[in-house]
Symmetry: C2
Subunit: 215 residues, 2 copies
């Protein structure tokens, strides 16, 4: 079985996977799992073992059908911000950020229970027929909130964690709703080898950019 | 010395403080410190001991002079989002969220080094004469990023952590740029007593809403 199919099978069982991009891009490892498989315990593992921003990646199709904008486009509506909007980040890509959301039953939005509900309920909506996405989303979510949505730009256009996570979801045959969190090392991002070690210690599959794109 | 003056003095020395709102509002404790006093070590303490979103609170005056919008106003520019924008959160207030930022020297934006630079450089700008705020901010920051700005609505209008943090800064005579992170307990927000215990164990001053507003 290929390394990607192996990772997809593990993800489908509800396990975390670790995805490192490459030394030449962000040089960053993210802890990734299926949003629908979230639980309060999974959220606490994300904050304790990863420590970055807990985000929720979805596909261009979901974003288009629900009506989710890229944050960088939304920011353009305020001319005072024109000079500070990222054209490209330091690693050369446009940011994947969309809006941030809370499930409407959230209290503070940030607790393990609240973020877990936000992840699982979004995952459930994306598992429904496409015609129900927009209506169900609008009923269930509020913005701004405590989970950042990310929109993939297609793995042929951008080699980011967002796109790699969605590609694994596609291979696994699960809906395009993936939880992502950057693994922050001491001071700097965790190196490839340190991220690989953490994956091994926790029994998580480790993937990197070259598994998707070749050397 | 009053409890608020004591907390202000501790903050001014570069210490963390813990601020709990009240059982009747969010029921949430935040770990708070002066943005200009940030360091990579301080950011790692925020993510390990608090675990929420690392945010940066500033005053209405700074927001107005720099040109920072409330996120909920910015979201209004996209009519597809009209139905999901928070009118009021579950605890009855409008959200304090503004835009998210990275210092332009950030690599990924999320590492301890990057978030620390974002906090300290924002703190430095707000310490300058007001006439330099906008120009310096536009030169130094990019959006969207990995530190969420929060804008206070004035402590007479909103009894949130944002407003309480800014009030302590005012008492301490330090510029209105405060780092905040929610202390997430297991599954739910940490209770008042648990937050008070953590403050005591770490030598941090503990404050709560009633210290600001009376019983």
């Amino acid at each position: 079985m290929s390394v990607l199919k192996n990772a997809a099978a593990s993800l489908k069982k509800g396990n975390f996977i670790v995805v490192y991009d490459s030394d030449g891009r962000e040089g960053e490892a993210d802890l990734i799992f299926c949003a629908k498989c979230a639980s309060p315990r999974a959220v606490s593992i994300m904050r304790e073992k990863a420590g970055g921003l807990l985000c929720l990646a979805t596909s261009p199709e979901v974003a288009q059908k629900i009506g989710l904008p890229f944050m960088s486009d939304l920011l353009l509506s305020d001319e005072r911000l024109a000079e500070i909007i990222y054209n490209k980040t330091k690693y050369g890509d446009k940011p994947a950020f969309s809006i941030s959301i809370n499930h409407r039953e959230s209290k503070t939005g940030i607790s393990d229970d609240d973020r877990s509900r936000t992840l699982t309920e979004f995952g459930k909506i994306v598992s429904m027929p496409k015609t129900a996405w927009r209506r169900s989303f609008v009923k269930a979510f509020r913005t701004p909130g405590h989970v950042n949505l990310l929109i993939g730009r297609g793995i042929e256009n951008r080699r980011g964690h967002t796109e790699m996570a969605l590609e694994i979801a596609r291979i696994a045959g699960i809906p395009p709703a993936m939880a992502l969190c950057e693994i922050t090392g001491t001071r700097r991002q965790m190196t490839r080898d340190a991220a690989k070690k953490i994956a091994r210690e926790n029994g998580w599959v480790f993937l990197e950019g070259k598994d998707f794109f070749g050397e």
